[in-house]
Symmetry: C2
Subunit: 308 residues, 2 copies
């Protein structure tokens, strides 16, 4: 295949802000169709359902699935069964088991499945990984604090069971942490704060450790007003590392080491084309597994009702 004929399913804010510009700028792809219940993409064939789209446009090679995670599995099965490569927007599903099931199906159909973690492609992530590989970490703090009203206005699905609540952004932090640390971590305690009128947490803290006894604490909060923070701070024998702005800037002892323009979605689409051409899948469930672990292990605390 020279050019990959791509279709996008679930046309919302993230598709318009990120997927469409990234695809338009990448010569590996030709966008040929879109399917969405309530939205359309200009200049391509539009459908109300993925089933109708797959039946009508046989030239599709690959699909990006961008609907809420609760609805991703059925669409992924339809695409994989039709022999299409599949890009899953994060999180890859509402459960770990359904994504394991998709990975097995992709292997049987001999197509590529990509469980994407866009924050892993933030500009300074690889530099942070290289820095940490060359030193010893004594402790790490993750602070992911944002205003849900600003970033997810009126997105009801995010508050529903399976919508993950504050872990929707928090899983971005976990996707970075699991990439930059030299060893696997695991949660030892967690607290999840549920608004009394919602089915997903508005705040959470998780303590992690690893086989070497790492002291890692992550705080996720959706009630942050004023300055927002998407920061990972590590105390190391080589100084204090700060990976800030969601992985965009890396500094050590206050000195900027790495700061380049953000290229997350362009990088994701380069990666997707790469695994399609290599005949491989890329499905790392560690970030979602940590969220599931936190739900299983965590203490639940009911807090003030949240109204959008």
């Amino acid at each position: 295949m020279s050019i990959i004929n791509l279709a996008i399913v679930g046309v919302g804010k993230i598709v318009r802000d990120q997927h469409l510009p990234a695809v338009a700028a990448n010569a590996d792809y030709r966008l040929v169709a879109a399917a969405s219940r309530n939205a359309q993409v200009e200049g391509v064939a539009n459908f109300a359902s993925i089933e109708e789209m797959l039946a009508t446009v046989p030239s599709i090679d690959a699909v990006s699935l961008c609907m809420p995670p609760q609805y991703r599995h059925a669409a992924a099965v339809a695409a994989l069964e039709a022999g299409k490569h599949v890009f899953l927007e994060k999180p890859p599903g509402a459960t770990l088991s359904e994504v394991e099931d998709l990975a097995a199906l992709a292997a049987r159909k001999d197509v590529s499945l990509f469980a994407s973690w866009h924050s892993r492609y933030a500009p300074a992530v690889e530099a942070a990984r290289a820095f940490l590989a060359g030193t010893t970490i004594t402790s790490m703090r993750v602070m992911w604090k944002e205003d849900v009203r600003q970033w997810h206005p009126g997105q009801d699905w995010i508050w529903q069971p399976g919508g993950l609540g504050v872990f929707d952004p928090g899983i971005n932090a976990l996707s970075i942490v699991t990439r930059i640390l030299p060893r696997q971590v695991f949660a030892t305690a967690a607290t999840l704060e549920f608004p009394e009128n919602r089915d997903a947490p508005i705040a959470a803290s998780i303590r992690f450790t690893d086989a070497a006894g790492l002291d890692l604490e992550a705080e996720f909060d959706w009630r942050q007003v004023g300055p927002q923070s998407w920061d990972i701070i590590a105390r190391t024998q080589a100084g204090e590392m700060v990976l800030s702005e969601g992985g965009a800037r890396l500094s050590v002892d206050g000195r900027l080491v790495h700061g380049e323009p953000e290229q997350e979605y362009p990088s994701l689409y380069r990666r997707f084309a790469e695994i399609i051409r290599a005949g491989r899948s890329d499905v790392d469930l560690a970030p979602l597994r940590h969220v599931a672990d936190a739900f299983m292990l965590g203490r639940r605390k009911v807090v003030e009702a949240f109204h959008d």
Copy 2:
């Protein structure tokens, strides 16, 4: 190694009821030591901690870890680092990630790790698996309803975060279901009922499906008084299959097909010796993954306080 020198850690009810008789009856093992904070095993060397035990009795080949899951990882690391084979009582840990970490450590140390699921060794489980493999299943119901006051009197750890609550018995059902079904399943919805004074659920229901659209519903309840039920009922094209008494009895259309004496722990210890001698591990996390998925996906409902 001709005889496996075994040590047991975490001496409680399940050890006295099941582990000690099973080990005593199996010529593959010699029980040489035990470690427990508050209890002792007669006739062997006893220690207050696993670290002291491992340092004092170098002849130990393998350890069974039977403390609550929240404390299992640290003990497992101590044993694996000392080059011992490790048997994990179910559930294998408080998180999926820590067990993945143990599996990686066992592989590095070239010793066997066994994540045991005793109910998989119930007498009629393999017969149920064979029956289902030869037919088409239209629906399945799991009913695991028992009186927590009778089966877990005063066991506070079970109500703490990471103690799993009603999933402590429920995971036994899931360990059977994942063994007897022909395909992987995954949760699509769940409800978890938390007593207002407890950190773990007292009841739960989970809906599952699989790639073929199976209709599977599991109900777990710890508030059952009167007759207890540990039943799995499948409607199939070959009749109604009932796997009852926790996997002990199999009947089809009311006719008893398989019913033999219970041999779960003797079978587990046979399996553990087998993987040690074969130089392999046996770590299937599917049952725990389904529980984590249910916590992540599930709707939380607060119910009446529970007092022991």
